[in-house]
């Protein structure tokens, strides 16, 4: 089943067309890889699907519902989360608080109470709110083996753990789809190895994963399906095996022979 899909999505910045008429599909429960040379438009495509950027033309559908011009916080609340290529943690908040922010809108929901009342309550029962969220947040830290760092400031975490924390924070929003933008960037081989396991464990939680990655070993190993972008266009789509043997893809990565 297709959970997320773009139809002829185009994003131009002035005269520069970063993404051009891309039809991209994400199937439920799978790990989808999005690859392509630098500047192919991968991150731009991510930004346009998560509400950080608005397409020049084309549409985005999530579970059949159009979300093209929806704001980022609404898209998040619908069940789409993401991480960034250059890690964007709340550096001055503690590790635990980062995850608690991810739980923000879940913990605020209480249909019986009016908004004002909820706000007053969250103020009067500071401790109660803190405890409930605290417990949930700790569970996510345990999932990533980060419990011991709970009270550290996020900025003080080692690089590899910062990446994991960013994923933990995204998962705290309880997404159906998780977008990972170059999760293995800057990691050494053993860190990458453990990241692959983590991504599989996330998939096993029932979360659909979409990832941008340059590490071909990782992509070919864990992705169920791969989409290739080049110069903002979708040039191929298929299983790792099909992609590996696709001539257009090889050309995009290695260049044409006679030029």
């Amino acid at each position: 089943m297709i959970v997320l899909e773009t139809k002829k999505l185009t994003r131009a910045y002035g005269g520069v067309v970063a993404v051009s008429e891309v039809d991209f599909q994400v199937k439920d429960g799978l790990i989808t890889g999005l690859i392509g040379p630098n500047g192919a438009g991968k991150t731009t495509l991510f930004n346009n699907m998560t509400g950080l950027d608005t397409p020049t033309s084309g549409q985005v559908f999530y579970n059949g519902e159009e979300i093209t011009n929806k704001s980022a916080h609404r898209i998040c609340r619908l069940g789409i989360a993401r991480t960034f290529q250059n890690i964007r943690l709340f550096k001055e908040l503690s590790v635990l608080e980062n995850v608690m922010v991810g739980l923000h809108f879940k913990t605020g929901k209480d249909p019986l109470k009016g908004r004002l009342k909820a706000a007053v309550d969250s103020y009067l029962h500071v401790r109660t709110e803190y405890d409930a969220t605290h417990e949930k947040a700790m569970k996510w830290l345990e999932f990533f083996g980060l419990s011991e760092f709970a009270d550290e400031l996020a900025r003080n975490l080692p690089y590899g753990h910062q990446r994991e924390l960013e994923i933990a924070r995204a998962l705290a929003t309880d997404p159906q789809i998780l977008f990972l933008d170059e999760p293995a960037a800057g990691m050494n081989p053993s860190e990458t190895e453990s990241l692959m396991n983590t991504i599989r464990r996330i998939r096993d939680l029932g979360v659909t994963v979409v990832l941008i990655e340059h590490d071909m070993k990782l992509v070919m190993n864990i992705c169920d399906t791969i989409t290739v972008l080049n110069y903002g266009r979708n040039i191929a789509q298929g299983t790792p095996e099909e992609i590996r043997n696709n001539e257009q893809v090889i050309e995009a990565y290695l260049g044409k022979e006679e030029e």
Binding site: G51, A72, H73, V101, H104, G108, T173
Partner: protein
């Protein structure tokens, strides 16, 4: 003996004044923390809040001084806070929000415009004559160890401390407070966490404006209320926020109190002429900018590449 009790006398006066500066500085710093923008209309929101408080108090206080006048005082204060909170949110919606994607200069100019609109409207509607709040209770000073303390000073200190402690708890511990800190650190990422950033910004303006109104009402008690009162008070509180480290809540509290102490001790001990009192804040500003431009508790911000 004389000099020691004199010292404590000035300390008491300085703390009262500093507490008021701190309350106002909090509004500047909170808004700056989230929008990286100085709300130059903040002092005028304070002015409107003090007028509303003063009018409410006059309307309900009755004739006899007693328990009711004290209750009325707090009701009036809350009325001023609520009015200013709504005013602050409205100003943000109308004059700042549409300019969020414009150049950084645009909302700043808009804020200066709002400032003039508010103070001129107040002068037109309520006159330029300054007014003073009637005492809600007997203000005869009593002396402890040679230090004369007025009941008003105690009231001011108590209100200031309650406000600061609750604000600090709110920001550090509550769910909305956490969302505020997240939004001020990285607005886009906060949105991606499902946080309604616009709502958080509105709450920030509401809280900042309510604190300013409180400060204004306390000033009405000690000094007086007039349409241009927001100008100098606002500027000095802004200096306090910068001295403490703009964007930092504890910094604003520290900066405000330091400034109050500096002004009081500057006149009393350093022999700075009373007429020059207002310059102390700005001299302090220049010194801080030269030595520690990020402010006492501020962090050096690296430019994002």
């Amino acid at each position: 003996m004389g000099s020691i009790s004199e010292f404590f006398q000035h300390l008491m006066n300085g703390l009262t004044l500093g507490g008021i500066y701190a309350l106002i500085a909090l509004g500047y710093t909170m808004v700056y923390g989230i929008l990286k923008f100085i709300n130059f209309a903040h002092g005028d929101i304070l002015m409107v809040g003090s007028y509303i408080g003063l009018f409410t108090f006059n309307a309900i206080r009755g004739q006899q001084m007693g328990i009711w006048t004290i209750v009325a005082f707090f009701i009036a204060m809350i009325a001023g806070m609520l009015f200013s909170a709504v005013l602050g949110v409205l100003i943000e919606r109308i004059a700042y929000k549409p300019l969020r994607r414009a150049t950084r200069l645009a909302p700043l100019l808009s804020a200066i415009g709002v400032s003039f609109i508010l103070s001129n409207t107040a002068a037109w509607a309520w006159g330029t004559k300054s007014r003073k709040l009637d005492y809600p209770f007997d203000n005869t000073p009593f002396t402890i160890g040679g230090v004369a303390i007025t009941p008003h000073q105690i009231l001011i200190l108590v209100v200031v401390i309650i406000m600061m402690v609750s604000l600090k708890l709110f920001v550090d511990r509550s769910r909305i407070g956490k969302a505020m800190r997240a939004t001020s650190l990285d607005q886009d990422t906060a949105k991606l966490m499902g946080i309604k950033a616009d709502q958080i910004i509105a709450i920030t303006f509401a809280i900042g404006s309510a604190l300013a109104a409180t400060a204004g009402f306390l000033i009405a008690l000690e000094i007086k209320v007039y349409p241009s009162m927001g100008m100098m008070t606002g500027l000095k509180a802004f200096v306090a926020a910068v001295v403490g480290g703009i964007g930092n809540i504890s910094g604003a509290m520290l900066g405000g109190i330091l400034l109050g102490l500096l002004e009081t001790f500057g006149v009393a001990l350093l022999g700075i002429p009373y007429g020059m009192r207002d310059t102390i804040a700005f001299v302090a500003l220049i010194i801080i900018l030269l030595i520690k431009p990020e402010g006492l508790l501020g962090k050096v911000e690296k430019e994002k590449v």
